[in-house]
């Protein structure tokens, strides 16, 4: 079990001390996954480093089963905590299998030779992640999504109860992000691991991470079940500004476009109204029920305005541009 007890992180910028995290109290149990959210520079990466034992000043604040990690030898800590950084390393000629096998290092004797058991663990990691076909591929020929999974395979090889990932979704395309987050959720539950990761994919993260730690960057934070933080309005408090707003009803982010002087009224098919209004918002046209101009959305996917009918949205938009209203 991981326990953070009165953890402080601050930064010295030319003699001026800036507090990032102050008095953080947090607990994580096996089987739980936690996401760190917050804007750039609030200390997400620093916190991950602190938990992994890389920050001298935080060694007493990170407790492993009640014992400060200062008292745990580095070699033993490597068997408890795996850490996956954001940056990708390219090692010429290295195969994905050999890369993942580096995760076995803490368990190997001085010459670093893999034993039968080690090989089997590496094989198993690839099987668990359904990426057997990547084993023999060159590391620097993997896509970013594939590389991320091979990194996770390495962490599995390290056989640690806790896995830390620093912005694992940073370079992934959207389906790969979803794939990755659901994988991390599944690993936590099936392998009974603790998983902590940071990300900027806000509206995806809360769907997959059971717990959320929100960092404000001024020392304050909120920690709890992701849904509880949303219900309590903390997501709004952290991320809303004049342009962006977290919708606590359905968990999406909404954007405010600058409003133009033009407005119109939409009637008809619900789905069509929704997507038409999205297009209008971008074009600076406000959708108002009081507007004199009315566009009717037919359920077969057509738009009617005055005596005109359009089969494509673009034709409607072009027509609206010729109207003066």
């Amino acid at each position: 079990m991981l326990h953070l007890n009165d953890l402080h992180i601050s930064f010295d910028i030319k003699g001026v001390k800036r507090k990032l995290i102050s008095g953080l109290e947090m607990e994580l149990k096996p089987g739980e996954n936690l996401v760190l959210l917050g804007r750039n520079g609030v200390g997400k990466s620093s916190l991950l480093k602190a938990i992994s034992g890389k920050m001298e000043a935080c060694l007493d604040a990170v407790l492993w089963n009640g014992k400060a990690i200062r008292g745990i030898a580095q070699q033993d800590l490597a068997k408890k905590i795996a850490w996956i950084p954001t940056t990708r390393v390219d090692i010429p000629y290295l195969k994905a299998f050999d890369y993942a096998a580096l995760g076995r290092l803490p368990y190997l004797s001085f010459h670093g030779r893999l034993k039968e058991l080690d090989r089997k663990m590496v094989e198993d990691a690839f099987v668990k992640l359904h990426i057997q076909e990547l084993k023999t591929r060159d590391l620097n020929q993997l896509s970013d999504g594939e590389f991320q999974k091979v990194q996770i395979a390495r962490a599995l090889c390290q056989d640690t109860p806790l896995i830390l990932l620093d912005e694992p979704s940073a370079f992934l395309d959207y389906p790969s992000k979803v794939d990755l987050f659901s994988l991390l959720n599944r690993l936590a539950k099936q392998e009974n691991k603790m998983i902590i990761y940071s990300t900027h994919d806000l509206d995806l993260a809360w769907r997959f991470a059971q717990k959320t730690l929100l960092l404000a960057g001024d020392g304050s934070y909120n920690f709890g079940l992701s849904e509880q933080l949303i219900l309590d309005g903390h997501f709004n408090r952290y991320f809303d500004d004049e342009f962006i707003r977290f919708n606590g009803e359905d968990g999406h982010f909404e954007f405010d476009f600058s409003k133009g002087s033009r407005s119109l009224k939409l009637t008809g098919d619900k789905k069509l109204i929704f997507w038409t209004s999205q297009a209008m918002a971008k074009a600076g046209i406000e959708v108002q029920d009081t507007s004199e101009i009315e566009v009717h959305c037919f359920s077969e996917g057509e738009w009617g305005i005055q005596d005109q009918k359009f089969k494509k949205l673009i034709d409607l938009m072009n027509f609206l541009n010729t109207l003066i209203f």
Partner: protein, 341 residues
Amino acid sequence: MNKTAFIKLGTLVLLILALFIADIKWGSVAISWDELLSLFGNDAAGVSKSHQLIIWDYRLPKALTALFGGGALAVGGLLMQSYFKNPLAGPYVLGIGSGASLGVAIFLMGMQSSWMLNMPEAFQNVGMVFSAFGGAVSILLLIGFLSIRFKSDISLLLLGLMLSYFVTALVSLLQFWADADIVKQFVVWGMGTFGKTDWTSLKIIIPLTLLGLVLAYSQVRALDAFYLGREEAESLGISIRRSRTIIMVATGLLVGLTTAYCGPVAFLGLAVPHFVRLAYGYAGHRWLLPLCFLSGGALALLFDLISQNPFGDSILPLNTIASIVGAPTIIYLLFKNYQMK
């Protein structure tokens, strides 16, 4: 690594054996196979005294020095390249070479003063070795001391580079003030040779090189982990500080010693690790290290053989041979490798 790797390793060992014998057989004085066989068959009766002397006291020590010196430089290069994750790093990247040069330059300048001139030649040889080793070790200690304050490896590399410039400038200054024959002696030292050692020096070179190799081998796990970067290596349980110290000491021992006895031998240390990687692909350091040692030894024997100029009378400078023969080989391998991809 698998069966083919063992075959490649076996081929390398056979190659070394062949080169070793060739290096003893050929040189400016022709020695027949019969003489060689009877000499090593403990039946030296039919061999002339001078040929016996050439084999036992010159060519055999020279071949052994090439084997161990070349291997040591290659391993030193590997250690620096892997530690700094920089393919341009070589054994002299931390200033060990320039440190040795300064030591030798100071010693040779001292020779100008009269009391040293009266010393026997043996003293001169020993003095050169000691001052070179002393210079190398002092630079390394200085770097080690200064590096306590540096966390970044780039600063450490820059530090080594700057110290090299500084020390090289001091050497130039010394050369400027020195007599012409001293300068020549220094230039000759700078060209490198394996032929200045005798059995007494080998009694120092071989055990200390082996010690350096053992130290280096104790760090193969750390060197593997460094592929991933410092912080990840730390997460894998590697103590960076301890590894760094041991790697520095091993490099200093291997490179400093070789440079002291053979001069700053160019090319081998930088090129052999690349050569090994190009030839064998990825391998953990528990393979790379012995492969580098053996390949370094083999190449050094080959270069020495060529520099002995078996088809002429004169001896060619080792460093020029190494670069003239070695650089095109590496370029060829690079091209071949890129065509395959």
